[in-house]
């Protein structure tokens, strides 16, 4: 039972990393959003699995939230935004895809290196899970940094959140996981609303592209 359980858990975690790479690879808006939906599905699956093997029913709630909010609601909203802003064409990453991929691989290696010295007594599945979660987080950050487009950056942020949830649920018996995930979903929702409100076409930098250099209180 345990071996299998752990392998399945690994499967999901590794799958999440894989999907993160897919996210990095995607350069079409619609494709990006869909891939993110997949990301969310994988997360909710892994959370559900954790709930099952840890006999922790409350984690099902987290899984449900992840599924409903991030696999359906937000992607739909994002689709509408994209349409409204009329940017469902290709988007250009700042650095080339290949380079991004390379950096991503480096990050995964880094996260594994960092996790290596952790003694196994921290929990059998913790170490690898943590390595995966950390890679997901770093990849998400990489995405936020390399992409110009507000929506893709939000997606990057949300993938970070998925990584966090992965880690949180992987940490066996951690209290408040549900509350925290709820709080975080609110955060994400607010960001999305913000984008929606401020009509952020391009760029995360500013609520209005014209204000980019004027309104810093100071002139450069």
């Amino acid at each position: 039972m345990d071996r299998l359980a752990l392998d399945v858990a690994h499967l999901f975690a590794g799958g999440l990393v894989l999907v993160s790479f897919l996210l990095l690879y995607q350069d079409r808006m619609t494709g990006l959003v869909n891939t993110f939906a997949m990301h969310a599905v994988v997360v909710s699956l892994s959370v559900a699995w954790q709930a099952y093997i840890q006999e922790a029913p409350h984690l099902y709630i987290t899984a449900a939230i992840a599924l409903v909010v991030k696999a359906f609601v937000i992607p739909l909203a994002l689709h509408r935004i994209i349409v409204r802003l009329g940017i469902h064409k290709t988007i250009e990453p700042v650095v080339g895809i290949g380079l991004t991929m390379l950096a991503g691989i480096g990050l995964v290696a880094l996260s594994i290196m960092v996790m290596l010295p952790i003694t196994a007594q921290a929990g059998t599945l913790a170490r690898e899970d943590l390595a995966f979660a950390l890679s997901v987080i770093l990849l998400g950050l990489l995405m936020m940094v390399t992409r110009r487009n507000a929506v893709s950056q939000v997606i990057g942020f949300m993938s970070i959140e998925n990584g966090l949830i992965l880690a949180a649920t992987g940490a066996k018996g951690m209290p408040l996981v549900v509350e925290i995930s709820v709080a975080f979903s609110i955060l994400v929702a607010l960001i999305v609303i913000g984008i929606f409100l401020f009509r952020i076409r391009e760029r995360f930098e500013t609520v209005d592209i014209h204000l980019l250099h004027e309104h810093r209180g100071e002139q450069p």
Binding site: M144, F204, T206
Partner: protein, 670 residues
Amino acid sequence: MAVEGPLWCIAVLLGAGVAAVPAARHRAAAAAVYGVCLGTTLLALAFAASALLAPDRYAAGLSLPLGLPWLGAHFRVDALSAFFLAVVNLGAAAASLYAIGYGRHEDSPGRVLPFYPAFLAGMNLVVLADDAFTFLFAWEFMSLSSWALVMAHHRRSGNAAAGYIYLLMASLGTLALLFAFGLLAGASGGYAFEEMRQAKPPAAVGGVVLVLALIGAGSKAGLVPLHVWLPLAHPAAPSHVSALMSGVMTKVAVYGFVRIVLDLLGPPEWWWGALVPLLGGVTAVMGVLYALMQHDLKRLLAYHTVENIGIIFIGLGLALAFQANGLQASAALALTAALFHVFNHSVFKSLLFFGSGAVLNATGERDMERLGGLIHRMPLTAFAFLVGCAAISALPPFNGFVSEWLTFQAILLSPALPQWLLKFLVPAIGALLALSAALAAACFVKAFGVTFLGRPRSAVTAQAAETDRWSLAAMLAFAALCLIAGIVPGQFLDALAPATQALVGAHLPLQEERAWLTIVPVAESRSSYSGMVLFTVIVLAAGATTWAIHRFASNATRRSAPWDCGFPDPSPLTQYTAGSFSQPIRRVFGTVVFRAREEVHMPPPGAAEAARLQVRLHDVPWDVLYVPVAGAVAFVADRFNKVQFMTIRAYLTLVFGALVVLLAVLATWQ
């Protein structure tokens, strides 16, 4: 009844400062505040005098539960601090007396009255402090209050900048002293001076401490090249404050140096005795040359303070050199010379600033090119100022000469020093000292001659009236003191004996029992000087001659127009001006020291416009040291400033980068 007395005085001063904040509007406030200051400082002066006469009675220290919690504020009066306490409060009392009259003309009393007593309190605190924290606290507090006073007339052009540079330099000095004390205290963190005396730092540390002390105390005293703020800040303040800053605060800085280097630091290295006098000599000559080039009266005086600080540091440095070679007696002579010059300079420099303040009040002019002939309009001020000029030019029988004479005697003892460098250096320093003394005479012939003699160069000057009696009282009192300290120096030198005894373990032979009030630094056969005899003989000779001539030869006098080789010009503008007076000396030294350039614009024959002569002087230390530093700060600020105008993604990249770097560090760490 040891140190409490002065501390109570300080408390009263602080109280007066606080009380002055609301009361400043009131008409009588100025008189009240300055009156209180006068009384308090006189009291403190009495304490200091009695401490000088009986040092042991005052040795007991006192610790108050203030400042650093586990350290407390330590206060103590030993021979050295007693002497400086006397100097401080003497100057402060005179300035307060002067200000009772002078302060009436202050147009913004609210910016002066609260800070003046605070300034006095600060200077007293520095001298009394017996631990590093209290010392630095008082030191910086003194700077801050005097900064406020410099900013009193902030709307006059240049004053704000002067205050800014002043505060910056003061803080730099405080930082240097902070590090010096950090080194002295060591890792154990013993900040009480007593512990520092016990701890014997290694030689290398000692050298660093010396340099730091030179930076810290030197920046406040005006040691070249740290002098740049001084000629800007001192004149900017109201004149009685200028007198205090130039006459007294610089001496507090000297106190800091003596306290750290001669008292706390332990036995000196011989090279200290080479570095310090060299700095002193350069400072002396540079200072007096700067002063000669000025035509703003107060700025001239301020620059001249730099010269005297140089002379004092020559004495201190020689003391270090002798001390390092175990020549206690010679060290005592050099130190006595320096300390006595500290006292003298505080007296006549304050006197001169009082005079310049009186002139400023009477004419509203600081520019000597617009003054002249004031000896007719304000005779008493002129007389006092003249005495001050003679004293500061080191002319017998006044006090300035005695201290410089002692310094020369100390220099003449230096062949006893074994080190070759010193053998070469000391005569050169002697030459520098002699040069600066002679130039000082020229400088003050110019100052007095252009300001008070000749014919008035402007209408206001022609209408000037003698100043009020308070100011006159202060000035005449100090003029008298200049003479007294000049003709009976023995008593003053004996008062310094305990201090030198404590610092270098020896003191001058006591002078009281000498005949003819002669002072003998080393031995009768070697050198001796009796201002009393000289003074009486000269007075007798002059009196006798005058009497004889008026009695037996003619005493008829006739007034007429000046002859002036037959073609006198009625316009006072044909007189020699300050600029033209210093022109020969500028030609001799200026081109080297100031990179002076003279440009003559001579109109072609027949052209109507006037010919113009333009003189450009450079302050070399400023160009070489300060401008580059300011440039560097501006450069870095500009580069950093770009970070203010980046995009959010760039900021995120920063965060991301920081995270990755830290993780990498972590990965490599394990």
